[in-house]
Symmetry: C2
Subunit: 342 residues, 2 copies
DNA sequence: TATTAGCACTCAATCTATTGGAGTGCTAAC
DNA sequence: GTTAGCACTCCAATAGATTGAGTGCTAATA
């Protein structure tokens, strides 16, 4: 048995109705709502077929039908290809270039959450492909050095290095030159261990101290450790009884938002997806995050200049307003894009 | 009518029983549990008095009694003065000096939450009294300067400054000297506007550019904006039906944990309390945070070296195990103290 | 005078029918 | 292939009935 055109229409109508009401939908409703001009009995037959095909589910005998994950998948796929709802206005978002990265991201998360009434997350941009722009060691103390590393896009990292023997100004100057000549202009990936050991050799005399220093610098350079994730609107899950009626589940969800590492997987997966059409939808089990089996997740990859990629995600119930969410995300991406071009 | 010794004993017993069970406690229970050897009828009379005095409440006729906020207050006060439960072990906390501040604080929050089964928060230490240790401007680009500010205790702040006209190395050197001679060794509070304008004057020639630079430095120095607050265990509220049965309230609480600014007030209030015995208990309305009317909050001020003060808080239901929480907090403070002394 | 036993009363919580209605599946007719 | 009709199912809501923990009051007791 295949999905003919009529079945598709009916399935679409069922899901749309369910998204609106959150209640199981019966044959009579569809018979009246759609312009198919079919009696409820006919719809019933078709629904029976759709259930057999796995697109819809009956919570119990004598109840209407609700979409299965497969059904949602059908809906999302056809929706994304066929419809192109004009982009909505994003309320309350004013982006300014000078804003600091973290406050900007926090604000974006909040605006997304309040505009959609779902939970929102946003990851700080990863800058793997970016070039090292500036390295500097300074002495702040007899026994302490400060390493400042600046990457293109003005991402800055600091690291305090404890040294056993005091270094004189000249040594520090030499080290600075050594570091900059070797490393400047390189991307994170181009810096390898061989290079570092070569530098250690060149540094020669103070090898003990210098090894420490270079190690610390290498440590500071490692990018992946500062994948920051900001969330907002976790409280929105309380709007959807199917997510909060079971307290275990609710607690699990809240934990996921609070202990953000788990969301990290979502970020990785979204970024990894190469044939990236921009927006991805995970329904139920499809999401790579434990404890989101009852949710749907819509993610998007944003870009703030070359190589500065991050992930945005909206987490809500399966019956979320996919159209609106997708439209909202698209608006946002546009805004972030213009922001960078300014 | 006053609280005689017997009434106190009964009240104490009622509250303790309620803390254990979470159920309204009746006269018969008290009659059996305590060693007062009084019949339930007598207890009833006493309870009637206690209710009149406002220490306990009857949720409805023919129900047992539960403590009022005033009752809790009595309990906490007598408990804190009389009992000194030996300090419990804190499971899973290994503090190391070299750990970065933010990961340290996150871990402390998590350990507190898992040890107590309540929600925990911890604020980054405020360093008002700390001295400026090191300031440096560097050029990272024709049009961009990087300001690095280090404060005693190795708190580091960066700020990228855009300048219209390129500065030559000499100017930057001069600026560095100017900044360091004027500001080094000063506390945040000792730096005032008069001083800054004096510096602007001295800088003289490049006044336009220099004004920008000094403004940016002043901006970066402002301490209050980086009051970071870390939370953990928000999900624990689901353990206590009285906090989550009403979804509105639950949602409000979760929001408070997620949007951490509100917790900031708690931090301010705790730090402000001068006659600080170390640990404070807020019951219901007493807490300065909206949306915690059904909660109790236990806060403590920790100190990591002179002037580096921060706030720890445990948020749970009113019927929390105050003794355990207080003991746990005390252990923690000890550990933080030893950590600093190392 | 303080304490207690005894009893009537109250009220939330729990259980048990009972009912109404939304919805289905099936069959027979169109 | 479509539809009307009907018996059937099952949830959800409602209304009693029942239970039990707990109270307040009174009268007896130490």
């Amino acid at each position: 048995m295949e999905l003919d055109e009529r079945k598709k229409k009916i399935l679409y109508a069922i899901i749309q109705n369910y998204l609106e009401t959150g209640e199981p939908v019966g044959s009579r409703t569809i018979s009246k709502y759609t312009d198919l001009n079919l009696s409820s009995a006919t719809i019933r037959n078709e629904m029976s077929d759709l259930e057999e095909l796995g697109y819809i589910i009956q919570p119990h005998t004598s109840a209407g039908r609700i979409p299965s994950d497969k059904g949602y998948r059908f809906y999302v796929d056809t929706m994304l290809t066929e419809k192109e709802r004009e982009v909505e206005e994003l309320k309350g978002l004013l982006l300014e270039k000078d804003e600091k990265m973290d406050t900007l991201l926090k604000r974006v998360a909040r605006v997304l959450a309040t505009n959609t009434n779902y939970a929102a997350m946003i990851s700080s941009p990863q800058y793997h492909r970016n070039k090292l722009k500036f390295i500097q060691l300074s002495r702040i103390d007899a026994r302490q050095l400060l390493a400042v590393i600046v990457v293109e896009g003005n991402v800055i990292k600091n690291s305090v290095i404890n040294v056993e023997d005091a270094l004189d100004d000249e040594t520090i100057l030499k080290l600075n030159i050594l570091l900059n000549t070797h490393l400047n202009g390189l991307t994170m990936e181009e810096i390898n261990l061989g290079m570092i050991s070569a530098m250690k050799q060149q540094a020669g005399i103070h090898s003990e101290v210098i090894a420490d220093v270079i190690d610390a610098v290498a440590e500071a350079i490692k990018a992946d450790e500062d994948l920051e994730i900001y969330t907002s609107g976790a409280n929105n899950i309380f709007r959807y009884p199917e997510l909060t009626d079971n307290k275990e589940r609710a607690s699990e969800l809240i934990t996921t938002f609070e202990e953000k590492q788990m969301l990290g997987e979502l970020v990785q997966e979204t970024l990894a997806d190469e044939n990236n059409t921009g927006i991805q939808v995970y329904i139920g089990d499809e999401a790579p995050v434990e404890g989101m089996k009852d949710c749907s997740v819509v993610t998007a990859t944003y870009e703030l200049g070359e190589g500065m990629k991050g992930t945005i995600g909206i987490i809500g119930p399966k019956r979320m307003d996919y159209e609106k969410v997708v439209a909202t995300l698209k608006t946002l991406m546009n805004q972030l894009d213009t922001l960078y071009k300014k």
